[in-house]
């Protein structure tokens, strides 16, 4: 899994994840997202376009951040994975109705301010 974060403003962070988001990788994502929350981020767009597998532990890292952000007046939106296999866990748990799910748009230019964290 690779995680990149981009600060869009004091309170908004974009996070881009590639690879597998599973029980092995979820603790690392949770650490990154908790760091952003403690640095003041409240609005998150988490891009899962290039994630190819998500399990319930990966989902849990996203749900925990959503709950924490909402309790602080913020929220989390997800960019849908292109891979239907990665989308499956959201549909089976109905979290596709709980998160704001944005369509992936590969042609959309990415607004990148400054990478804060690059993580292998």
């Amino acid at each position: 899994m690779n995680i990149e974060t981009f600060a869009k403003s004091d309170q908004q962070s974009d996070v881009s994840i590639t690879g597998r988001l599973d029980a092995l990788e979820a603790p690392e994502l949770r650490k990154v997202l908790e760091g952003l929350l403690s640095n003041g981020s409240r609005q998150f767009i988490i891009d899962l376009t290039n994630v190819d597998f998500v399990d319930s532990a990966g989902l849990a890292a996203l749900v925990k951040t959503m709950k924490d952000a909402r309790s602080l007046g913020g929220d989390v939106a997800l960019v849908k994975p292109l891979n239907k296999n990665a989308m499956r866990v959201f549909e089976l748990t109905r979290f596709d109705k709980v998160f704001e799910m944005l369509d992936a748009n590969p042609s959309k230019p990415q607004q990148i301010d400054s990478p804060k964290i690059g993580n292998q």
């Binding site: 599973d22 092995l24 597998f53 319930s56 989902l59 709950k67 499956r88 089976l92 748990t93 709980v98």
Partner: protein, 141 residues
């Protein structure tokens, strides 16, 4: 059905989360012509093995996974010597009250046609089966 139509495979996996990465390639060998079922079973078996590692074995150990495939059905059984599981104490998540964890078994049940648990003389046995028909759909139980 002739015996030659049956395919058996076994995987003995150390109880370590990193070892769950073996499951996808193993299932790909088992079901080379059914990508959709292969992906569903990978998620189901992955969720089961993570649960076994985190909640039953909780340390060193291993999971034995047996698969049998015929023309119509794939049956996967796992055996581990971890703590027994009390299914009566596992509450199904309420879709109206999103929670952080506890979705593993709910996910598995929707991905396969049957999913059972037995405690056999100190061993946990989980079994799941799924139809190989191309029209195989996600079932809720």
């Amino acid at each position: 059905m002739t015996d030659s139509a049956l395919k058996h495979s076994q995987l003995v996996m150390p109880a370590d989360l990193s070892e769950t990465r073996q499951l996808g390639p193993w299932l790909a060998q088992l079901l080379p012509n059914n990508n959709d079922l292969q992906e569903k079973l990978e998620l189901a078996l992955h969720e089961l093995c993570v649960n076994v590692i985190e909640h039953a074995i909780k340390g060193p150990g291993s999971i034995q996974i047996n698969a049998t495939v015929d023309n119509q059905t794939v049956v996967i059984e796992t055996f581990d010597s971890g703590d027994p599981v009390d299914l009566d104490n596992i509450k199904e998540p309420n879709p109206d009250e999103p929670q952080v964890r506890g979705y593993g078994l709910m996910i598995i049940k929707q991905l396969v046609d049957s999913f059972t648990y037995q405690r056999l003389e100190g061993t946990n046995k989980w079994a799941m089966s799924a139809s190989i028909r191309p029209t195989n759909s996600i079932n809720s139980h």
